[in-house]
Structure formats: structure tokens, C-alpha cells
């Protein structure tokens, strides 16, 4: 044989056969498989619900903290509280004075009605006079 021509040959079948009774139970097997393959769809949110809620809580707190954490307004503090604070703090008179501006100093001015004898007594019995002069 010098050549083999497929079109001129008798038709060659594939050789495969369908098993007998193959399709008798096919429907039942298929329906069972369809039932197995149908998985419930669970969204990412439902699956990780607790994580989402935790993240949301942290974000809300993070946004709210700057609004809740307002600094104390100095004008609302009474004098007694301020004096106690200053007495217990380690701020020196020098540091305290540097914190004052002109408006603060003007506000501290007092007109004292004092006679000469009262002034002499104050100077005589005040042991810290030299410190005040030095400062």
C-alpha cells in the first residue's frame, strides 16, 4: 500500500460504546450532584461580622476622641483652684512671670491705699525683701 487516504477508506468509528443501562439512573445521580454543588452564598460581611463591627467601633472612637477631649478653658477655673495648682506645681516665679503678657500684668495691678507706717512695717518684718530686690 503506497498511500492511505482517509476519505477513500470506509468510515472508521471511534470504537467507544455506551454501557448498557447507563442512562437509567443518570437523572437521579445528576439531581443528587446538583444538590451537592449548590452551596449557600455567604457574603464576606456575614462571615467576618465581628471583625467588621470591631473595626467600625475603633474608627468611630478615633473620630470622636478629638471632639470629646477638649482642653480645659482657663477662664472657667476659680481663683482658689488656680492658687492651689500653682502652689503644688514646680513652676518658679521666673517661669510664671515669663508666661504673663502685658495684658495679664495690667490686670494684676492694684491700687493700694497704704499709709507710710504700714509700708514701713511691711518692709521691716518681711524676711524675703532681699530676694525680691535681687529678682
Amino acid at each position: 500500500m503506497n498511500s492511505f487516504n482517509l476519505e477513500n477508506q470506509p468510515k472508521i468509528n471511534s470504537g467507544f460504546k455506551t454501557p448498557e443501562h447507563y442512562f437509567e439512573n443518570f437523572s437521579e445521580q445528576l439531581l443528587a450532584k446538583i444538590g451537592q454543588d449548590e452551596k449557600p452564598v455567604i457574603s464576606i460581611f456575614q462571615r467576618h461580622r465581628n471583625w467588621f463591627l470591631a473595626v467600625a467601633a475603633v474608627l468611630i472612637l478615633g473620630i470622636m476622641i478629638p471632639f470629646l477631649n477638649k482642653p480645659a478653658d482657663a477662664s472657667n477655673i476659680d481663683d482658689a483652684t488656680m492658687e492651689n495648682y500653682l502652689a503644688q506645681s514646680n513652676i518658679s516665679q521666673y517661669e510664671l512671670v515669663n508666661m504673663l503678657d502685658d495684658a495679664d500684668i495690667d490686670a494684676l495691678e492694684r491700687d493700694l491705699a497704704m499709709d507710710e507706717s504700714t509700708l514701713e512695717s511691711a518692709i521691716e518684718y518681711n524676711g524675703n525683701l532681699e530676694n525680691y530686690i535681687t529678682e
Partner: protein, 145 residues
């Protein structure tokens, strides 16, 4: 389907997978192609996917795996082909994947080129060329062996 995967048990799996896929996707079928072509396309893709996955699981290329399947045909109780039919299957297994598909669908299943074009999404000219090359290679193999 059996023509593609060669093994009966594999063909059984692929057939069921195909029906499941058709069942799940029937609502998405908009009639852009013929129903027959749509079904056939799903079946073909399922068979190829199955074959490639099985080859990978066995650590082989798809081509090598198919060669092995053909060699097992003689012992397959669901293959009742004679010597020439077995030789033809061996010749087909040596072809590239696309030529195998075209040849099997055209020669064994006698599908028209227009139907093949719809199923394989290839031009009729391309399909005719593939079939022509496939036939030439098969004829050479049959002559030498």
C-alpha cells in the same frame, strides 16, 4: 465527550459536570448562538478542563497524559474497537489539541463546519485548514504503522 477524555469513568464525570453547568447557567443563555452550539461548547470546555486538571494531578502534560490514556484503551472494557480503530486513536492522540478537536468533531461526529465555528469560536477557513492538516498527519501515521 468520550472522544475527548477517552476513559469511560472520566466521560461519566464530565457528562454530569456538563449537565450541572448547563442547569446553573441556562438562565444566562440569551440566544446569541444556537442552543445546540451552546451546549456543545460547554461540554467541550468541560472535557478539556477535566483532562488538563487530571494531567496536572498526575504530574504530566496534557499531551503525555492523553498518550497514556490511548495506550490504556486496549484494556478498556468500554472500548470495542478493532486494530485499525485503535491505530486511528493513537494517530489522533499525536495531534495538537485544536486539530484533535476539529478532527474528532468533523470525522466522528460529522458536525458541519458552520456548527464547529460556533462551538470552537474559530473561522470556517481556519477549521478547514486544521482538519486538512490533521488528516494529512493521520494518513502518514496510518501508512507508517
Amino acid at each position: 465527550m468520550r472522544n475527548i477524555v477517552l476513559n469511560h469513568d472520566d466521560a461519566d464525570d464530565v457528562l454530569q459536570n456538563t449537565f450541572v453547568k448547563v442547569f446553573q447557567n441556562l438562565k444566562n443563555f440569551k440566544g446569541e448562538s444556537k442552543l445546540f452550539s451552546w451546549l456543545y461548547r460547554i461540554a467541550t470546555n468541560e472535557a478539556i478542563t477535566f483532562l488538563n486538571a487530571k494531567a496536572k494531578r498526575n504530574g504530566m502534560t496534557s499531551a503525555d497524559f492523553q498518550q497514556k490514556q490511548v495506550e490504556n484503551l486496549q484494556a478498556d472494557s468500554y472500548f470495542e474497537g478493532d486494530e485499525i480503530q485503535l491505530k486511528l486513536q493513537k494517530a489522533i492522540a499525536l495531534l495538537p489539541e485544536k486539530q484533535q478537536l476539529v478532527f474528532k468533531m468533523r470525522y466522528f461526529e460529522e458536525l458541519k463546519y458552520e456548527e464547529l465555528s460556533d462551538i470552537l469560536d474559530t473561522s470556517v477557513g481556519g477549521l478547514k485548514a486544521s482538519y486538512h492538516h490533521a488528516v494529512k498527519k493521520i494518513e502518514e501515521y496510518m501508512l507508517k504503522n
